[in-house]
Symmetry: C2
Subunit: 228 residues, 2 copies
Amino acid sequence: MARREQASRGRDDRAGSLWLQPESKKRDPLTRERIVGAALELLDAHGAAALTVRRLAEQLGVAPATLYGYVRTKEDVLDLALDAVYAEVRIGEEYEDWSAEVAELLHAWRNALLRHPWSATVLGRPQLGPHMLAREERLYALLAAGGLTAPELQDAAYALSNYVIGSLLMQVAWQQQDESVRHAAAGHIAERSEAYPTLAAHRGTPDADWDRSFTNGLRSLLGGIAPD
Amino acid sequence: MARREQASRGRDDRAGSLWLQPESKKRDPLTRERIVGAALELLDAHGAAALTVRRLAEQLGVAPATLYGYVRTKEDVLDLALDAVYAEVRIGEEYEDWSAEVAELLHAWRNALLRHPWSATVLGRPQLGPHMLAREERLYALLAAGGLTAPELQDAAYALSNYVIGSLLMQVAWQQQDESVRHAAAGHIAERSEAYPTLAAHRGTPDADWDRSFTNGLRSLLGGIAPD
DNA sequence: TTATTCTTCCGAACACTGTTCGGACTACCA
DNA sequence: TGGTAGTCCGAACAGTGTTCGGAAGAATAA
């Protein structure tokens, strides 16, 4: 049965269908692009854990082993998918205030990743895709235009990038738990208010205002970075 | 053969050994602490991927299924191990300059995690262990002592924590690749210097000075955070 | 047309993974 | 001595990423 299903996916046996076959074969050649497209669908719809080689192959109407003709490993697929997310980050051309433009770039970056929360699980490996590099080039260029040079330039890019990544990772980590867990965490701290007095008193609500915190933190960072 | 090996681990059949058995059984009772201790050894010695339930059980001289009497899931083990790492972060009592003390706390935090690079892979889930909460309590307390209140306090803690985590994640991601990969990455960018001119010109050496960048970024951030 | 190369594809297997369940063994207490 | 808790684990389950030898198809050559 599984066999028939698989066969009927790869080949159409209905009467007269042979006339359509060659064309549709040429219209749907398996390519890297199609593979990462299908991977993105699975990732966006069901999260990082749902992307398995077998499911990906099934979505493409193909056997699992076939994918390995186009991709060295599953991690390659994830890297390609992540770069496709980076492609969503609009990179401007002109600008008036370099510092404001940096803020806009980093907001766009964060928003793109937040739209695809599975991306947080992929960030733990160095990325060198073209869109990711384009984003970093833009960041360096803006900071250089702001007057930063030599080691301060690297330090500023390091700080800003890592701030974005850390913020994303934490927000996704908490938002992927459902509300009951977040409430339980708050209760856990409240119950131990003599061990964690300041935390119990001032740590925010279970659903924090992530956007406000990110914006304010970024302002602080940019304020400390500008050359004098 | 595998059977015999397993049996000889659980039980000692040498002549006369029965006299020693009950005592050693009582000296080595399986506990959560022993489990996370063994997990830490495996993680530190061979990295996150090397921690499998079977290997962990083997190290403890126990069958895999036995562990599930002490721990709900493998992720529990990782959470416990991570909190053991947080326990290494020394938390002071007195201080003179709150801002300098925050810097020291965050440095200690980062250093502890860098000593156990596998920790980076665990950071993607919310942590609520006692030592991790103690660290956050200390951070909140110091910032409150510095005069921060209400929303700014949360924003500052958010920014500082996420900066540390993002920095750690990136550094570990790059350092876990061996040098040849880092050089290849630098070469990749250099070859495309017309697409990434600023990057090619100013992005640092393959082995960056992570400590300097972290320290400088932290100074910038703290400078932008202090209330006026 | 027939024969031959070349490419694409995939069934089946491999060596793992985390986890569950029923029963076996032990230690204790009546 | 019998019964009862508690601990432990062999065996299996359902899945994972990946490899390999060969089958099927298209393209080229004779």
